[in-house]
C-alpha cells in the first residue's frame, strides 16, 4: 500500500512524536506515530494499521489507479446530483452603494421582467428532470428584495410545478439584509424560504464605510436590527468581505454580534472572504484594495486568523472538504435578469462566457469554461487537487479574459492547510 497522492502529512502541534495524516479527497484525518512513517513508505505497517489508513483513504493500493479514478470525481458528483439549482439575478439595482461591488459598472435599473419570468418557468417545465428530487433557487441581485413581488410570483409558480411533479422546492436569498424585515421574512417563509445569506463587512465603523446606503448613511444598524428579528423565523448565514487593510478588525464584528444577542445558536454559519478586484471593464472606479490571487501571502494569514476568531467564539464555518467551482455542475445555472444563462454570477454580462438563454437552453460550455484543465499530470499528482480542481474560474476570467488553464492555489494551501485542518480537528467541524 502507498500513501495516497491526495494526502498530506503535517506536524502535530499537540503531540511532538506524531504526525497528522489528512486526506484531501474525503477530509479524513489520523494521528500517526512518527516512527511509523518509514514503515508506511516501505509498506511495513501491520495489517491492522494498513486497514485503518486504507479505510480513511490515506493509503491506496495504486497511485496510478487513484489518479485515473480522480479524473472521474466531478462526473460522479454530477451523476449523484439529485437537485437542479438556479441562481436568479433578479435585478442589477441596489439600495446600497458598496465601494467594492463586483457588479460595478454593470449596475443600473435593470430588472427581470414578467416576460422573462414566464420564460424561466417554461425553461424549467421543458427541462429533463429525470432522477431529480428537488429544485433549489438562490435569488440574487443587485439586491433581490427590490424584486420582492417577482420572488413571490416565481416562487409560487415553481412551488406549484414541483408539487405537481412530486419534487421538493426551496429557495434562499443572497441579500444585503436592509429590506429583510420581519413581515418580509414571514411572507417569504410561507412560500419556500429556507435561509438568507447576509453580508456584514466588519464592525460598524468599517461596515458603514464599505456598505453605505446610496444616501451615504451607514447600513449596519438597520441590518443588525433585521437580523435580530429574522433569525427567529429563518436561518441566517452571515458573510463578510475583507481587505488586507481591514481584516484584523473583523473580530470586533464577532464581539458586536454576541453583544447584540446574535450568538452561535442564532447564527449557525459564518464565513468571511477577501474582496476580489474586478477587471477594469466593470470595476468601481475608485476601488483597488481587493486581491488579485488567492496566493497573495496576506490571504493565507487572513483566512487562518479569521477562521480561528470565528471558531473560538463558538460559531461554525465552512469545514475543509473537497471543493470546486459552481460551474463544474451541469445542473447549476445562473439566470441573468435578461434571460441569458451563465455558470457564475461573477461572469454575467461577459458575452464570451454566456452559455445560452432561456429559449435556446444551455449550450456546451466545456471548452469555454475549461472544465478539463486540471486533468494534467501536474494537477493529478498534486495533493491539493480535491480542494481546488483548477481554482476559481471567475478569478481566472477577470485576470486573463479566459479559463483555458488552471489558476493554481498551491501556495495558498502550502501556507494554510495544516492550520485549517488543525482547526477542523480542534473545533470538531
Amino acid at each position: 500500500m502507498k500513501l495516497s497522492c491526495y494526502s498530506k502529512l503535517f506536524t502535530s502541534q499537540e503531540s511532538a512524536d506524531s504526525v497528522i495524516a489528512y486526506s484531501t479527497q474525503n477530509a479524513a484525518a489520523a494521528l500517526i506515530p512518527s516512527e511509523l512513517i518509514p514503515d508506511i513508505n516501505k509498506g511495513n505497517l501491520s495489517p491492522e494499521e494498513q486497514e485503518i489508513l486504507t479505510d480513511l483513504g490515506i493509503l491506496v493500493s495504486s497511485r496510478e489507479e487513484e489518479k485515473i479514478k480522480m479524473q472521474n470525481f466531478i462526473n460522479e458528483l454530477n451523476d449523484l446530483n439529485r437537485s437542479v439549482k438556479f441562481i436568479i439575478v433578479l435585478n442589477m439595482d441596489c439600495n446600497l452603494s458598496c465601494k467594492y461591488c463586483f457588479e460595478g459598472k454593470r449596475k443600473g435599473r435593470f430588472y427581470l421582467s414578467e416576460e422573462t419570468a414566464d420564460k424561466f418557468i417554461n425553461f424549467i417545465s421543458r427541462s429533463d428532470l429525470t432522477g431529480k428530487e428537488s429544485i433549489k433557487i438562490v435569488f440574487y441581485g443587485g439586491e433581490p428584495l427590490l424584486s420582492l413581488e417577482r420572488i413571490v410570483s416565481i416562487s409560487g409558480r415553481i412551488g406549484a410545478f414541483t408539487h405537481s411533479r412530486g419534487l421538493k422546492y426551496g429557495f434562499t436569498l443572497v441579500t444585503n439584509g436592509t429590506l429583510l424585515t420581519s413581515p418580509v421574512v414571514k411572507r417569504l417563509k410561507e412560500i419556500g424560504l429556507q435561509s438568507a445569506k447576509i453580508t456584514l463587512d466588519g464592525p460598524k465603523d468599517i461596515h458603514d464605510l464599505y456598505r453605505p446606503f446610496k444616501s451615504g448613511t451607514g447600513s449596519f444598524d438597520t441590518i443588525i436590527r433585521n437580523i435580530k428579528e429574522a433569525c427567529n423565523t429563518t436561518t441566517i448565514h452571515l458573510g463578510g468581505n475583507y481587505t488586507q487593510e481591514n481584516f484584523r478588525e473583523f473580530p470586533r464584528l464577532l464581539d458586536d454580534l454576541a453583544a447584540n444577542g446574535l450568538t452561535p445558536d442564532k447564527i449557525p454559519f459564518l464565513k468571511f472572504d477577501p474582496v476580489v478586484n474586478e477587471s477594469n471593464e466593470f470595476a468601481p472606479a475608485d476601488f483597488h484594495d481587493g486581491c488579485e490571487s488567492s496566493n497573495e501571502p496576506w490571504i493565507s494569514d487572513a483566512a487562518v486568523f479569521l477562521r480561528e476568531e470565528i471558531l473560538r467564539r463558538g460559531y461554525r464555518t465552512q469545514k475543509i472538504v473537497p471543493m470546486s467551482c459552481f460551474a463544474e455542475f451541469k445542473d447549476n445555472i445562473v439566470v441573468n435578469y435578461d434571460g441569458t444563462l451563465y455558470k457564475c454570477p461573477g461572469l454575467i454580462g461577459r458575452e464570451q462566457f454566456c452559455v445560452g438563454d432561456l429559449e435556446r437552453g444551455q449550450t456546451d460550455y466545456r471548452v469555454s469554461h475549461g472544465l478539463d484543465v486540471w486533468k494534467n499530470k501536474e494537477c493529478l499528482e498534486c495533493a491539493y487537487l480535491p480542494l481546488c480542481f483548477g481554482g476559481c474560474k471567475y478569478m481566472k476570467a477577470i485576470r486573463d479574459g479566459n479559463m483555458s488553464s488552471v489558476i493554481c492555489q498551491k501556495e495558498y494551501y502550502d501556507g494554510t492547510l495544516a492550520k485549517l485542518v488543525s482547526q477542523d480537528i480542534q473545533y470538531d467541524l
Binding site: A27, A29, I32, L77, L80, N81, K197, V321
Partner: protein
C-alpha cells in the same frame, strides 16, 4: 510515546452534489 494510530476524523461521503452557495474564489463544498 504514542504507539497506535488514532482516527481524528472519519472521511465524509460524496453527497448528492454541491449545496452551498460559493463566494468567488472560495468554492462550494462537494461533500458533507
Amino acid at each position: 510515546m504514542q504507539k497506535r494510530i488514532i482516527v481524528l476524523k472519519k472521511g465524509v461521503e460524496k453527497k448528492d452534489g454541491p449545496d452551498t452557495f460559493c463566494c468567488f474564489g472560495a468554492f462550494i463544498p462537494l461533500t458533507g
